[in-house]
Symmetry: C2
DNA sequence: CGGCATTTTGACCTCGTTCAACAACTGTGG
DNA sequence: CCACAGTTGTTGAACGAGGTCAAAATGCCG
């Protein structure tokens, strides 16, 4: 008996797929992992497809299995702001999962993407059954909240050039092994949106940073950091 | 035998004090509440005293029992940003509690304040013992994250006048019963810091909103909202 | 009342946006 | 593989929002 007979196509169980990928689950025993795995569904999205959008009721936790997802919001005045980009192992959908509300953000596949979905009620069962998962999620939330407040604080107090410099330093620090070159994880258009400015200003400020001898633009996406300390003082 | 003989002064158990105040605990049975209550300690802070500051290792969850607490951060360039103001029933300290790190914010008593402290390890025990508490905290985190990202998005996309208008609308919506007058919950100096601008600009923009007939400044702290829809379109 | 912090006002100037034109890049079909 | 179209990135010039600095006004508390 094939599994395709039991589960609808395009929505088969993922076996060890993404569940074992995620930090929030990867401390569990194999047995528990399997238990969770069977409740997940794998869904595929084509480039540009929306996984959910503002106003949707949230019913699932989405774990990225393969691909890339843009999370963005529309502000009161209708401007788009890029909130973050999800890579394999990252998850989203949590907002409305734990409080009773609807999504306020949009999640869009940047490339063809595979996602594992865990249903809200299944997840809640697991949280009550294995409380250690909650602690993991709390840790993740805590980090994300920290990141969001830091970002907020930068918007409130730093000028654009500083925000760009700090952004470069941040992504440099995430590079392993340590290096002096970074690859911008998104287009400059998206970067502008992420940093709360315009593509024109991004372009000009990158030039200014280069003129000051702090960076070198190798290609559009490749930046060499020449003077790290200098960047921190911008 | 008096309790003062058992517990050090200024740090006595709070009995039903604040624990029952907080949304994250108030769904529990009286018995469980009491169990938590005996592990809490009550601490008092004088106006201007710091409850914790950036760099501190976090070891406790702090619940406001009485008073008012300012949470602020210093940005990379040393400017202060007001993150939020805590009132009785609110809690803080969670950041470093769930992930292994130090505080990045400062918590300062705005007036003489009483706080209940729950030790990190005690809290973790309760979370594992009563998983429903985790769900409550997850909901709270979720809301706070939502608020922080919304704020971030406003900084990124809205001009100062709009941010002020939206702020007024937000606090108007929190007023119960519904009214058309709001009391600013902080000084205009703090408001400037909260909204990422300067006191001068706050002062000028309030005048502009008044000139446009959208609000009326009754006193420094009392604002009458004349045209709610107009405010939303600013 | 006197002293101190907050708020306001004015003048100036800087930073970043906007608009428009152009250049470079990416992907698609012939 | 090239031509073309659509998108993304760059550059210039002008404008405008908001910051800064200085000083006066108001409010607050001992």
């Amino acid at each position: 008996m094939s599994k395709d007979a039991i589960y609808p196509k395009n929505s088969v169980p993922t076996h060890t797929g993404c569940v074992s990928l995620v930090p929030i689950f990867n401390h569990l025993e194999k047995e528990q992992l399997d238990e969770i795995t069977v409740t997940t569904q794998s869904v595929s999205y084509k480039k540009q497809e929306l996984i959910y959008h503002a106003g949707d009721e949230s019913t699932s936790l989405y774990i990225i299995h393969k691909g890339k997802v843009r999370i963005y919001r529309l502000s009161e005045s209708g401007k788009e702001q890029l909130v973050r980009i999800l890579n394999p192992g990252d998850f989203t959908g949590e907002m409305a999962l734990f409080s009773e509300s609807t999504h306020e953000t949009y999640a869009e596949a940047m490339v063809d993407t595979k996602i594992c979905r865990i249903d809200r009620s299944d997840l809640q069962d697991f949280l009550l059954k294995y409380p250690s998962i909650s602690l993991k999620i709390l840790a993740e939330f805590s980090n994300r909240l920290e990141a969001s407040e830091k970002q907020s604080s930068r918007f409130a107090t730093e000028k654009v050039e500083t925000r760009i410099a700090l952004f470069l330093v941040d992504i440099l620090n995430e590079e392993l092994p340590k290096t002096t070159e970074v690859t911008l994880p998104m287009s400059k258009k998206d970067l502008a949106s992420y940093l709360g400015t315009t593509p024109e200003t991004i372009s000009r400020k990158f030039n200014e940073l280069e003129d000051k001898g702090l960076i070198k633009q190798l290609t559009h996406k490749q930046i060499k950091i020449i003077d790290l300390d200098g960047l921190l003082l911008v």
